[in-house]
């Protein structure tokens, strides 16, 4: 963990009703990932404290698209996978998945999680995550809920929920 990551809200307590969605501590430690984990900055504002520029590899050690067998877009006719499309693993999935990335994604999706979070937590670029999610969706391993389409802004009820939620901060 870097200093910047520790700076979060670890001391605050979530309302009990949101516990089902709160799962940051359930995620597997970063170093377990069998693939290369990014360049060492937790945020784009720059390298985290303690990370020297010399520590960071010049580029990914695993070319991202080898995970997708060269595909740069999700297959076929699936729904659009926005940054904040929420993904959850389909219930009753039994079989073992061969690819470690697919398995890691399915583990994360035990609770509802956004596409952007999957990308960040596994340190796999968004484009690559989208392709793998497209495969999982096609195989019936996950369910998704798309973000509100651009033409149809969030309804009043959602806005009110957001306002109430922010006020409770």
């Amino acid at each position: 963990m870097t200093g910047r990551q520790e700076r979060g809200r670890s001391g605050t307590v979530s309302p009990p009703e949101t516990e089902g969605f709160e799962g940051a501590d359930l995620f597997p430690p970063a170093q377990e990932a069998p693939w290369h984990r990014g360049r060492g900055h937790p945020t784009s504002e720059g390298p985290s404290e303690g990370v020297l520029s010399g520590d960071a590899p010049e580029g990914p050690l695993v070319r991202p698209y080898t995970m997708t067998r060269g595909r740069t877009r999700p297959c076929g006719s699936g729904p659009r996978l926005d940054l904040i499309t929420i993904v959850v693993a389909a219930r009753g999935r039994q079989e073992q998945v061969a690819e470690p990335e697919r398995e890691a994604i399915l583990r994360l999706c035990g609770r509802p999680i956004s596409v952007a979070e999957i990308s960040a937590r596994l340190d796999i670029p968004l484009t690559v995550v989208r392709v793998i999610l497209g495969d999982l969706l096609a195989d019936g391993d996950i369910r998704t809920r798309a973000a509100v389409p651009v033409t149809q802004l969030p309804d009043k009820k959602v806005l009110q929920a957001v306002l109430d939620g922010i006020r409770r901060l």
Partner: protein, 200 residues
């Protein structure tokens, strides 16, 4: 409409929460990540988008290694506002050469906060222009930095040339309550702007 609140396509399964997003924009170093971090329930995360020249999905690796790629990092945080609704806060990529990511960020966004740094007010001109043109409701938050001259919001309004109806507030991005107040101001502004359409 109740039907819009839950995903109902898969019956017998638990509903999936609805996600909404707010954009935190501003120049490099204006405090975007700081603001995200001060209100987020998780430590800010960064996700990378790799842009390649390969424009269509092909099952062919041949030549891909020669295509130029650009990596853009976006910082974000999360606030679970209710069991049904999750709010994501996305900081825009700071450098101007990443403008192409703004379209994706703005799509479906509830609204935006433009963080203004009074030491370099011009760095947020682009953001103001962008949200005005896209019709994304926004508020301007003047981030107070130590050593910066105290400006009145009206001076900032004049410098940025934003209309009266756009709220301008003073803020401290490091402070949780202050950042919360900015978000409250924004969402109130969004609801206010949508009320005529909803009632008529």
């Amino acid at each position: 409409m109740a039907s819009a609140d839950f995903e109902t396509t898969t019956h017998g399964q638990e509903p999936i929460p609805q996600a909404v997003k707010i954009i935190i924009a501003g120049g490099f170093g204006a405090g975007k990540t700081t603001m995200v971090g001060s209100v987020s329930e998780i430590a800010p995360l960064s996700t990378e988008e790799v842009m390649t020249e390969a424009s269509c999905g092909v099952d062919d690796l041949g030549g891909l290694e020669d295509k130029s790629t650009t990596t853009v990092a976006m910082d974000f945080g999360r606030i679970t506002v209710s069991p049904e609704v999750v709010l994501y806060l996305f900081g825009t990529p700071g450098q101007n050469r990443f403008w192409f990511m703004w379209d994706e960020l703005a799509e479906g966004a509830l609204g935006a906060v433009v963080l203004a740094d009074t030491r370099r007010l011009d760095t947020c001109f682009h953001a103001v222009d962008f949200f005005e043109r896209r019709g994304v409701p926004f508020v301007v938050a003047v981030n107070r930095f130590e050593g910066s001259t105290a400006y009145r919001t009206e001076e900032v309004r004049e410098a940025l040339d934003v209309p009266e109806e756009v709220p301008i507030v003073l803020a401290d991005a490091r402070d949780r309550e202050s950042s919360r107040d900015v978000l409250v101001e924004l969402v109130t502004h969004v609801i206010r702007g949508r009320s005529p359409a909803l009632s008529g």
